[in-house]
């Protein structure tokens, strides 16, 4: 039966029998598809990641990302050579991901979809986006202590920034071999924010604190500055913000600079509408497709099924929890010294995970007191948490990149 033998050789069954771990990876892909589609966990990212994972783990399809090493020397091949020898998935990975190109492009899109209005109207609350970065650095230390290298630990910690593109960009620079599990952990926990935030809040915030009504506080202690010309402020603000950050943490410019460019072309309006469409739609959507598929394709049995992955999953959760805790504690500290009280939930949203965290915080506040709408206030620290994470990533890169 020559023909049947040839057919068997062509199929993937032989290779599957040789590496049974691959079946686990395929099962993981199905699980992620289930979470993304049915449970609606960040479907825009989890679905393509899961599909890339699926494609990568069908043996013989040559759709898995092959890590570059001293032997295969992929990093120094031309793009055409990579495509010929390793297929289109590696072409996409080495051209778009390994070059660090896609995360800044996605940040440009994030910027074009971000409205700094709520933050500008409650600028003081932006401060609490800083405290919620503590999870990043705490887990960095814990991970180093557990034996990760400094670079790996930094990439692990950045999960606590609760921002997908930031986590991916930092991983690419510091520890590309951990890209897959870090991306999955980051997006999964962002999807789980409706579970994680209430969990931490219940442990640390009293009912009385949850009932702190931001609007009433505003009436009692009114802001002195009203914004008269929001359009002009919104146009100048991203330029100002970019200048401040670029001067202090230049290594965060590829991320933050693109975010603010996207925001600027949005705020200018019709004059730059073509640029806005490119940033928020054309480039953003295509980048999301390729990012998801290629990140998924980095995960094969050999690169994924090890104890590091489990530690990343555990560490990522801890980083999230500590970040939320940090934000809450900073508010509590502030309330000790200020007459004008702030709802600790505003600290929790410093985590980022925009706008999910704000919505969750708003619901928690409404549950404690049905008239206590804090969404607009939460958005302020929420957006500043994105900036905070990008700055933290810049610091990690400046100190740890090799």
């Amino acid at each position: 039966m020559d023909i049947l033998e040839k057919i068997y050789e062509m199929t993937a069954f032989g290779e599957l029998a040789d590496s049974p771990g691959t079946l686990l990876m395929i099962a993981l892909a199905f699980l992620l598809l289930y979470l993304g589609i049915k449970k609606r966990y960040e479907p825009l990212l989890l679905v393509p990641i899961a599909f890339g994972l699926l494609l990568a783990n069908f043996p013989g399809g040559a759709m898995n990302v092959v890590p570059s090493n001293a032997e295969n020397n992929i990093e120094h091949l031309g793009m055409l050579e990579i495509a010929k020898q390793y297929g289109i998935m590696n072409l996409l990975y080495y051209a778009l991901i390994k070059t660090g190109l896609l995360p800044p492009l996605i940040f440009m899109g994030v910027g074009a979809m971000t409205d700094f209005g709520p933050m500008l109207r409650n600028l003081r609350l932006a401060f609490f986006g800083a405290a919620a970065q503590i999870g990043i650095f705490s887990v960095l230390i814990a991970a180093v202590w557990m034996g990760f290298t400094l670079q790996e630990a930094g990439a692990l910690g950045i999960i606590g920034g609760a921002d997908g593109p930031t986590a991916i960009y930092t991983s690419i620079v510091l520890a590309p071999h951990l890209l897959g599990p870090i991306a999955i952990a980051a997006y999964s926990y962002m999807a789980l924010v409706p579970v994680i935030i209430p969990f931490v809040v219940r442990l640390t915030v009293s009912q009385k604190e949850l009932k702190i009504n931001m609007k009433e506080q505003d009436k009692l202690y009114p802001n002195r500055v009203k914004i008269r010309d929001i359009r002009t402020v919104k146009i100048i603000f991203p330029i100002l913000l970019g200048t401040i950050i670029a001067l202090l943490v230049p290594s965060s410019v590829p991320l933050v600079g693109m975010l603010l460019f996207g925001n600027l072309v949005k705020e200018i309006g019709s004059d730059t509408n073509r640029l806005f469409k490119a940033a928020s739609d054309t480039i953003m959507n295509a980048a999301t497709v390729f990012l998801g598929l290629t990140v998924g394709a980095t995960m094969t049995a050999t690169t994924f099924l090890n104890s590091e992955t489990l530690l990343i999953v555990a560490g990522g959760f801890i980083a999230f929890a500590i970040s939320i805790l940090g934000g809450i504690m900073a508010v509590k500290l502030y309330n000790l010294f200020s007459k004008k009280k702030i709802n600790p939930l505003i600290g929790a949203t410093g985590l980022s995970a925009v706008p999910m965290a704000s919505r969750v915080a708003n619901e928690l506040a409404l549950k404690a007191d049905p008239r206590n709408h804090i969404l607009q206030y939460a958005m302020s620290s929420n957006i500043s948490g994105v900036i905070g994470s990008a700055v933290a990533a810049g610091v990690l890169i400046a100190f740890l990149a090799q």
């Binding site: 401060f127 800083a130 405290a131 930094g154 309006g269 509408n273 900036i387 700055v391």
Partner: protein, 91 residues
Amino acid sequence: MSNDLSTALLVLAVGMITVFAILSLVVIGGNTLIRIVNHFSAAEVPATPAARRAVPKQEAPKIRPATIAALAAVVETVTHGKGTIQKIEKF
């Protein structure tokens, strides 16, 4: 304490200080910006609203705001508040 751990501690210190410094500057800078813009917009109050209306955001340069308001009111009435105008384009 290992060398790596002390580096990690240093990064923690530097990182948190930097994040706090930058967000403080953002708060201060943002407030200053708002004040400056307020100052200028107060000065040109009579001039700007019309000028700004002439350069509205995204699209539709020449559909008058009044028309839009009228349209919106109609939609609101007829749809019992469930409809919105998504896009008006001139042809």
